[in-house]
Symmetry: C2
Subunit: 355 residues, 2 copies
DNA sequence: GGGCTTGGCTGAACCGGTCAAGCGACTATG
DNA sequence: CATAGTCGCTTGACCGGTTCAGCCAAGCCC
């Protein structure tokens, strides 16, 4: 009988070996489906293992196999913002769907800064806690890349490509879909268009800004870009600034769902009708952009699939069977109720009185 | 020189021992701050460890110490809904903030069903992958509780208390804050009030419904409760049904931020002015309820702190120093722009034309 | 029948830590 | 001065797997 507080002794391969009347080695061969035991013995061992409810001790396996059977993901954004950015949870869901099938764990850590993030990589790799990591929010000349290369920690970067191809990356053409979006609103007759961007240092932000500026220039549109830190406050501030200017834009393209929803709220609060006075375009197109009113026109990405692609690539990199880049399916432009045709060009823009 | 694909050999205590001219045992004592070595030797060993960039191999430590230095969290909600429910990311952030300080990992797994969740617990515990788990979304007569008790896997339940106190729990008084919310809208003159609840089987949902029904009865209000599965669609459906009824409520209290924001969108789309025609109350009060227009009146909880409390309690349970329940700080009612006084009781309720 | 191969299994080392027991040198005590 | 106790360190077993070398018996061939 077990006493209070005593933890049940768990089954090991030695227990199985004893019961089956064979050696530990034979049990190991049988359980791993490797040659070295007869079919009869193998069957017997498997049956006993099932009866006893055996699971391999991960620590023991990790110690001799020198793999942790775990991957890591460090997120260096403020918790409050993270919680609101559906991107990450969907991304994690996609990662998980691949990992759980292989019974590989996902370790997640939230940190404050890139320096902390690097320290986590050092520790994780030093402790052999992970076999590899996914790196998000790639920056221009990112210090994490150098450190990961130095450590030799297998990694796949989300977004990219990475300078000098120092690390393999999974990415898609951000600029192209931005161009598509700009062309669409231009076709609706809009001529003044603004972009509320994410963090300037992020590579994917720069790529989108490039696409935005080249497309607006090509089409001869008035363009403006305001950077934010992805927080709701900075998004609200940017929107307020744009809408209070003497000649406000008639379209704002946001860099995330949170920014877009916040912008929608600010516009409504300021008495701008959406899309009559101002058209709004979101990015990522998680559920949130579909439940607000009006539902947001957005750049749609299958984020769950993106996560799956990324982690599958990481597993290949860990195996050593891949080091190249992978281009994921690119986003699509999905028009909804938050974008409409431009006002007729009489120069004035009717504004509803504030409620 | 390292060849392509070769992984850097990482530093072990044997390397340190050799360098310091002492045995492995001495190094172990020194690095763990235990007696058994002189101050001079200890200093020398620590210096060498720092120079070499040593980190303890977690697998080795776990194998002999019989602890994984990891905690687990299984989420059994659909990925799309999870992504939109800021509660979980904030909760995870709170958990992390405590764990990272102790360099304990958090393993997260997303599953489809309670059965899958139980299977994950069996595997994790069998593999010694975790030392304990946090259990969310407690149900009435929850099969997970029995299984966790049977396994002997240390666990803390979020929400509760658990039947027969079979497992320790962290929870707060859901009914009381609901009563507070109902009293507030009653004081504004509202008499028809509806609740769009979460999953009926969840204990915290039942507690809130209890509080809702007892408060409305006590105040003599017309009350209605519609259950959902927390998805945006079911929330939209419930809202549509309520607002299309011959005598719609003038207040709807939602069970999560996602449901509330969705409800707001549906109300606006149906041409109901918020709060003039319909008042809306949200739950959890993450940032999302503050960025929409109008900002939502909500039940505010410090979810990050809630996560911190929960994981600290789990660590105590793992240590064996605690088995009792902990009552966390309860939510507060935060009025904002989405609730307003009831229309004067002329029996008619003006409705704005659909835009 | 002897030599050779092959299948099926055992035994032991090993991964990198922890930790109890032991041991020599030094100090304190009667 | 003999004995006991303490300090500082070493030795080696151990955690639960994996893996390699080796061994025995059976089968095959000539």
């Amino acid at each position: 009988m077990s006493e209070v507080g005593e933890r049940a002794r768990r089954v090991t391969i030695s227990d199985i070996a004893e019961r089956a009347g064979v050696s530990k080695g034979a049990v190991s061969y049988a359980l791993n489906g490797r040659p070295g035991v007869s079919d009869g013995t193998r069957e017997r061992i498997l049956t006993i293992a099932r009866e006893l409810g055996w699971y391999p001790n991960r620590a023991a396996r990790a110690l001799s196999a020198e793999r942790a059977d775990a991957c890591g993901l460090v997120l260096a954004r403020p918790a409050k913002t993270l919680a609101l950015e559906p991107f990450f949870m969907e991304f994690i869901a996609g990662v998980e769907s691949e990992l759980s099938a292989r019974s590989i764990a996902l370790s997640i850590q939230l940190v404050q800064s890139v320096e902390d993030e690097i320290e986590v990589y050092r520790r994780w790799w030093g402790e052999r806690r992970v076999d590899g990591v996914l790196v998000v929010d790639l920056r221009k000349s990112d210090p994490r890349v150098d450190e990961l290369v130095r450590l030799g920690l297998p990694a796949v970067v989300i977004g990219g490509p990475v300078e000098n191809r120092a690390l393999p990356a999974v990415w898609h053409d951000e600029a192209a879909v931005m161009v598509e979006a700009v062309r669409y609103v231009a076709a609706l007759g809009h001529t003044r268009i603004a972009r509320v961007a994410g963090v300037d240092e992020f590579v994917h932000t720069a790529q989108r800004t490039d696409g935005f500026l080249s497309a607006t220039e090509e089409l001869g549109l008035d363009a403006e870009v305001i950077a934010t830190d992805y927080s709701a406050e900075s998004g609200a501030r940017a929107t307020r600034k744009l809408l209070s200017s003497p000649e406000p834009p008639s379209v704002i393209v946001y860099d995330s769902d949170l920014l877009a929803v916040t912008g929608l709220g600010v516009a409504q609060q300021m008495g701008f009708a959406v899309p009559d006075d101002i058209s709004i375009v979101g990015w990522d197109d998680s559920l949130i952009s579909q439940v607000v009113h009006p539902p947001l026109t957005a750049i749609t990405r299958d984020i769950v699939a993106y996560g799956g692609t990324a982690i599958r690539h990481l597993l290949e990199v860990i195996e050593g069977t891949a080091t190249h880049d992978v281009e994921a399916q690119r986003g699509e432009f999905t028009p909804r109720g938050s974008t409409g045709p431009a006002r007729t060009a009489d120069g004035s823009r009717a504004r509803r009185a504030r409620v």
